[in-house]
């Protein structure tokens, strides 16, 4: 069973509200217990890193924040809404409105262009065409891939795809951004680009960023660092 420890505690500011609250969450896969009675909060507008070894349940935690996986018991409250009590369609709609997700595994659609991938979440929110175009272009400009808009994702490099994932996560200006190992498998130059985005985004837009990583450069950017104490057997 994995346990979380505070490496760098958050500086609690009175009156701040939480963007994510994990309330007595337990998670098991069959006989394997991943988390037991996990209880913590993320303040709005903070950058929180979760460090820990591969296979320690970091992705499971991100997926529970996003409502992709459900806890065995307990609840996860995101921006005041209990995402664990929503049905699959409600959770998907909530995700589209509230959460930007850059998953560890590739979830872009390889048959579509970079632009089509970036605007896809807005289609699910039934955003009109002009607004979709404006927001998708703004997100692509933000991560520096405007000129790659017409490239088919299946032909792009790992680093380029990661940038498209970032743009897609930011396209609806979500208050919560979840990043699962964002610099893994990237070359140093591309990692630096990602780090630059993270610095700028957190400083200028005040969204809550929760990132799982074993890259010290990423965790050093965080205001608060949690560590998963041990690997799940």
């Amino acid at each position: 069973m994995a346990q979380l420890a505070e490496v760098r505690p958050a500086q609690q500011a009175p009156g701040d509200r939480f963007s994510v609250e994990v309330r007595h969450v337990s998670k098991s896969y069959g006989e394997t217990e991943v988390y037991a009675d996990l209880h913590f909060q993320l303040l709005r507008g903070t950058f929180v890193a979760l460090a820990g070894p591969i296979g320690s349940g970091k992705t499971t935690l991100i997926n529970m924040f996003a409502g992709i996986e459900r806890p065995t018991s307990g609840s996860v409250i995101v921006m005041g809404q209990d995402i664990t009590s929503m049905d699959d369609d409600a959770a998907a709609a909530f995700r589209a409105r509230t959460i930007g997700l850059v998953p560890q595994s590739q979830t872009l659609i390889p048959e579509l262009t970079a632009y089509e991938n970036v605007e896809l979440p807005l289609r699910f929110l039934k955003v009109d065409k002009d607004t979709r175009r404006r927001k998708a272009e703004a997100a692509m400009v933000k991560v520096g891939i405007r000129e790659d808009a017409r490239k088919v994702v299946g032909t792009m490099s790992v680093g380029e795809r990661q940038m498209v994932s970032f743009a897609r996560a930011l396209v609806n200006d979500p208050p919560v951004l979840l990043l699962d190992e964002p610099t893994e498998a990237l070359d140093p130059l591309m990692s630096e680009v990602i780090l630059g985005i993270l610095r700028g985004d957190n400083m200028t837009e005040g969204r809550t960023i929760f990132v799982t990583t074993h890259d010290k450069r990423v965790s050093d950017l965080a205001r608060r660092t949690l560590r998963v104490a041990k690997k799940i057997p």
Partner: protein, 161 residues
């Protein structure tokens, strides 16, 4: 040029599910073939023939479209999960399949039914009349209803499982 590229591609969600011009061509061609046979039989055999032909057309196209819907969702299960992770509802995914199958299936069945009525007239002798038009209309409506019913049922069964 691939045969499938003769027909237009679907929207981004349909293409994500690997519904291509080839899928559209297959749906249109199959619907046309079934409707052609149904309309020809109806023209040649009269009112009784029309009833039997309509039932066969409905059953064939409903079964085909349900199977296609299940196949698309199952073989694209990772894509479906990926789309869900960025906010796609089950209805937005299903409607992409529904729209493709219904649009191209109905078009194919309309062409097939007209061709079938002409073929039936040639084989059975009677001249084209108002009842011919009626037969074509019945076959096209039955085809479209079958495609819609089958696609919806296939999608619903897959989401439930």
């Amino acid at each position: 040029m691939k045969a499938g590229s003769l027909l237009p591609r679907g929207g981004p969600v349909a293409r994500s599910l690997k519904i291509t011009g080839s899928t559209h061509l297959m749906v249109a061609a199959f619907s046309a073939a079934v409707a052609l046979n149904g309309a020809a039989a109806a023209q040649a055999l009269g009112a009784g023939g029309l009833a039997v032909a309509t039932a066969v057309v409905f059953a064939s196209l409903a079964a085909c479209s349900a199977a296609l819907s299940v196949d698309i969702l199952r073989r694209s299960s990772k894509t479906v999960a990926d789309l869900r992770s960025i906010g796609a509802s089950s209805s937005s995914i299903s409607s992409a399949i529904f729209t493709s199958v219904l649009a191209f299936g109905a078009a194919g069945s309309a062409v097939g039914a007209v061709a079938g009525a002409l073929l039936g007239s040639l084989l059975a002798g009677p001249a084209l009349s108002l009842s011919t038009l009626y037969g074509v209309l019945v076959v096209v409506v039955a085809s479209s209803a079958a495609l819609a019913t089958g696609t919806y049922a296939g999608g619903r069964a897959t989401w439930r499982s």
